[in-house]
């Protein structure tokens, strides 16, 4: 997916979660969004994750826990602690606490920061973690975004399906909720229409005459005028392979037909929220100059920095000096690459890609994200244990996916999977029954 939030709020939240884990040596921090804040209707999405235990398999968030946090009397301040929750981990964790930090934003959004701590928590630490969790979620939330969604003109949606009945149902469903809908009957018309008019979201069928959904999606994603518009594939295909193909061709999501009206609306609203959040993020140039936002940047034009480039880069980033931060992160990454400190190099490239994204330079952001992927590959190849290598390959896959390099994404996933297979087989052989051995 070439254009999937290369340096948007998700990346920033992810980085903040990683910082939190590193600073407090926490086994795991995950940030969940439930939109709308209703277990029945909402979609629980993982927005950020960080762990000190690469390769450990963590359990999924259970509905019971979400319900428990949703039921908090005072969600703004209350923490839900469930010390016994470590049983959900497939690998034993040190005794510690689970913290559910519910954070609401009006009636629209609900975030849930899941923090596991290595030991018992004191009040001071709990308060600090709560503050930091709020900071992460603050990155993801934007009050103005929610207000926009409350008002009329929620968004323009392009619907492409060759079946007039399906178009009629989707149109009816969306217009009743205040969306503006334009519908067309094939992929080519969808692509052409998307080039001519602005849309906030495209819902596209898979099998259509003239041009099918995946081809149209690929064209939409390859065109600079349309590539930022999220595409959701409406499909009767229910095979996993088909869904993977849909995502690989650039779709952000898919909905299996016949869809439930609640699912369709929930997904549409969620994608529009993310889009508006991203737009708000990108429309807030911290350099203060419009020129600095649009000016092209190339690799290799950075002034040398003195001292610790990483620290200075972080400082520059926090002060909104995006170009300076980008230069410093690149310098750090290149130095770490030369020193074969691959994880650090990857992290620096990832940070650089965030700064490039803030400058609206998506080409550079993608280029740098690919470099991060390459660093992860180098890390994997030099890893001394299988679990570490597997984690590094998965990190590489994630970076390549974000950078839109499907070939390397697939290769990295394959390599991670092959290690997983080896690890799965790395068990003691079953005991031979005594009677058999005697024979």
């Amino acid at each position: 997916m070439a254009d999937t939030l290369p340096a948007g709020p998700l990346e920033i939240a992810d980085q903040l979660a990683r910082d939190l884990v590193a600073e407090f040596e926490l086994p795991l921090v995950r940030v969940w969004l439930l939109e709308p804040p209703d277990l029945e209707r909402g979609i629980l999405a993982l927005a950020a994750t960080a762990t000190l235990q690469p390769g450990a398999a963590f359990g999924g968030m259970t509905e019971v826990n979400v319900a428990r946090v949703l039921g908090a009397q005072n969600p703004a301040t209350e923490m839900i602690t469930t010390p016994d929750d470590s049983v959900r981990f497939s690998k034993p964790l040190p005794a510690g606490s689970f913290l559910g930090l519910p954070i609401v934003d009006g009636d629209q959004r609900f975030a849930f920061v899941e923090i596991y701590t290595p030991g018992a928590l004191g009040l001071a630490l709990a308060t600090e973690l709560s503050k930091r969790a709020n900071e992460i979620v603050g990155t993801l939330f934007s009050a103005s975004v929610c207000k926009e969604l409350d008002g009329p003109g929620l968004g323009r949606i392009l619907v492409a399906d060759d079946d007039p009945g399906i178009r009629a149902v989707v149109r009816r469903l969306l217009t009743a909720k205040g969306f503006e809908v334009v519908d067309v009957s094939n992929g080519l018309l969808a692509y052409e229409r998307a080039r001519e008019e602005p849309f906030d979201l495209i819902l596209i069928d898979w099998m259509m005459p003239v041009m099918d959904g995946p081809t149209a999606t690929a064209k939409i994603k390859a065109d600079p005028r349309t590539r930022r518009v999220p595409v959701v594939m409406l499909t009767s295909q229910s095979r996993i392979d088909d869904k993977v193909i849909a995502l690989e061709w650039g779709a952000q999501d898919f909905i299996t037909k016949p869809f439930s009206s609640r699912e369709l609306l929930a997904r549409v609203e969620q994608h529009l929220r993310w889009r508006k959040l991203l737009t708000a993020d990108l429309a807030d140039p911290r350099d203060g100059s419009a020129d600095s936002v649009t000016a092209p940047l190339e690799l290799g034009h950075f002034e040398p920095a003195t001292g610790d480039a990483w620290t200075k880069g972080m400082e520059a980033s926090q002060l909104g000096k995006t170009r300076e931060a980008l230069a410093l992160f690149m310098q750090e990454a290149e130095q770490c690459d030369r020193d074969k400190q691959y994880p650090r190099a990857a992290l620096a490239y990832r940070s650089a890609s965030i700064e490039a994204g803030r400058l609206h330079n998506l080409d550079l952001a993608n280029k740098v994200t690919r470099l991060a992927g390459k660093m992860y590959l180098c890390w994997a190849e030099s890893a001394t244990d299988s679990t570490g290598a597997q984690e590094a390959y998965l990190c590489a896959a994630r970076s390549f996916m974000a950078a839109g390099n499907l070939k390397l994404t697939k290769k990295s996933v394959d390599l991670a999977s092959s290690i997983a297979s080896v690890l799965a087989d790395d068990r003691p052989p079953p005991l031979t029954p005594l009677a058999k051995r005697r024979v």
């Binding site: 007039p164 009629a168 149902v169 009816r172 069928d205 099998m207 016949p258 009206s261």
Partner: protein, 120 residues
């Protein structure tokens, strides 16, 4: 209303949820789907006659989507069987399922007529 194997012939609840009290809108949608169905049935028969797997697959897929959209679950399920058989290049399976499809379509048309009559 349900077929022999208990798959509903016409499950209207999804459309009622979307169209609320606009029963005329639902009726128009059902009529439209039935008209399209006639075209797709003919196309499917033609594809079968020419032993064209791709066209059978295409037609079955379209029928499945269209029927499921109006709650014609029995037809959608049979169209899904045809699609799977076509994907597996299993002519015997395609032919068997297409026979079932004609009968299921007749039951669906009857159900749609009954629904329309209930509105009068």
């Amino acid at each position: 209303m349900s077929s022999n194997d208990d798959t509903p012939i016409l499950a209207i609840s999804r459309l009622q949820e979307i169209f609320e009290d606009d029963t005329a809108g639902i009726a128009d949608l059902l009529d439209g789907a039935m008209r399209t169905a006639t075209d797709w049935e003919a196309a499917l028969g033609n594809a079968l006659a020419h032993r064209a797997f791709d066209d059978v697959l295409w037609g079955a897929h379209a029928i499945m989507g269209s029927a499921a959209n109006i709650g014609g679950n029995e037809v959608a399920a049979i169209a899904g069987r045809i699609e799977s058989a076509a994907r597996a290049k299993n002519w015997a399976g395609v032919e068997l399922a297409i026979n079932d499809l004609s009968q299921a379509y007749e039951r669906l048309r009857t159900s749609v007529r009954a629904y329309r009559a209930s509105l009068a």
